[in-house]
Amino acid sequence: MNKKELPPEMVEILRDSHFAYLCTTDQSNQSHITPMFFVFDEETRDILVFTHTESKKIKNIRVNPKVCLTVDVRDPQNPFENIGVMVQGEAVVESPVDSFSIIEDEELMRIYKEFSKKYPVLSEAQSPTRLKYPEFTEALVRVRANKMVYWKGPHFVTVNFTEQ
C-alpha cells in the first residue's frame, strides 16, 4: 500500500459523498459512464462498488481494467465552490455472489456492512426496486487508485501513487 498522505478535503469527499460516476471503456475505446453507490476504504484507499455481473461496466473492465471514478459536490450558485475528486486506476473484479447466497467471507461481509452503514436507506426491506430483481449475481469491484486529482473551482491537487 502506498503511504502517500491524501489531503483531508479529498478524504472527506470520498468518505461522505453518496454518488460516484464510474467510467470504463470497451474494446473500441468507447467510454461508458454509470452512477454508482460506493464506499471508500480509507486504509487501502480503494474505492469499492458492487455491480451486477451482466452489466456493461463488468464486460468493459474484463476487456480493459483501466477505469476512472469521479465524485463531486456541486454548487449551483458558484462555480468556484464546485469540488470533486477524480480517481484513475485499475479495477479488480472479485468473485461474484448470488443475491440469496450466504456470505462466509469475512472481508466481503465487512464491506457489505460498510455499505449498510453508509446507505441505511438501501437496506433490502426499504428498497422500492428490490422486488423487481428477485435474483441476481453481483460482484465486488475494487478500484485501485494510481492517481487522484482533487479540485475546488479552478484549483487542482494531484496525488500520484505510482511515483516513488
Binding site: 467510467c23 471503456t25 475505446n29 477505469v67 476512472c68 456470505i103 457489505y112 453481483e138
Partner: protein, 227 residues
Amino acid sequence: MRYTAYEELRTLKRLDLINLSFGAITLLFYPLASIDLVFFGGLLLYSAGISLFSAISFITIGRIPGFPQEIIWLLNEGRFGYVGTSDKEMTPHLTPVIFVFDAHRIFFVISKISKKLQNMRENEKISFLVDMRDPNNLYNNRAVLFMGKAKVYGLLDAILNIFRLLKVRSIFHEKYPEYVYKYKTEGKLLPLAWRTTLFISRIIVGVEVEQMIYWREARPIRLPLKG
C-alpha cells in the same frame, strides 16, 4: 431502455437528401424530354413532386427533437453533465461540466489545455451522462447516457455555425445566470487557461449522439444476509 429514434430520424433525413438529388438530376433530362410534350409534362411533375415532398419531409423531420420527452426534460433541467473520454492508451477520464441542449445537440465548453480536449483529439469517441438525484430516496435517481462523437468547434466551425452558437451562448446565459455573473465579476482573477474567453481559453464541444441509454431507479445491491 434503448432508443434508436434519433438514428432513424437521421436516416430519414439522409433519404430525403437523396430524393432531392434525384429531383435535381431530372433537370438534366429536360432538353431531351422537350421533344415530347407528354413526356416533358410527366418529367416536370415527377421532379416537382419529388423535390417538394422531400423538402417538406426534410424540414419537418428537422423540427423533431429526436429525443423522448423525459430525456428532453432531463437535458433541460439537469445542471451538470459528466464527460467521459479516453486517450489512445485507453485510459478513461471523467469530469463534470455545465452544459446546454439546443433541442438537437448537447454543448459544453472546456478549457483548451484540459485533458478532456487532448483525449478528444486522440479519440473522438465520448460519453456524456446527465442524472437527476432524489435526496429523499437514493434509489429514485434517473439518468441518461449518450455515446457518440465529440465535435470540437474550432474558429472556422464557429464561423460556419455562428447563429447556432450564438443561440447556444444565449441558452448558457439563461440556464446559468449565477455562473455567468461569477465569471464576469471574478473571472479576471483566474489563470488565463480557466477564463471564459472563447478560442483563447475555452472551446465549444458538441456531442454527436449515436446511442443513448435511459434509466430510472438504481438497481439494488444486496445487503448482509448472514446465515
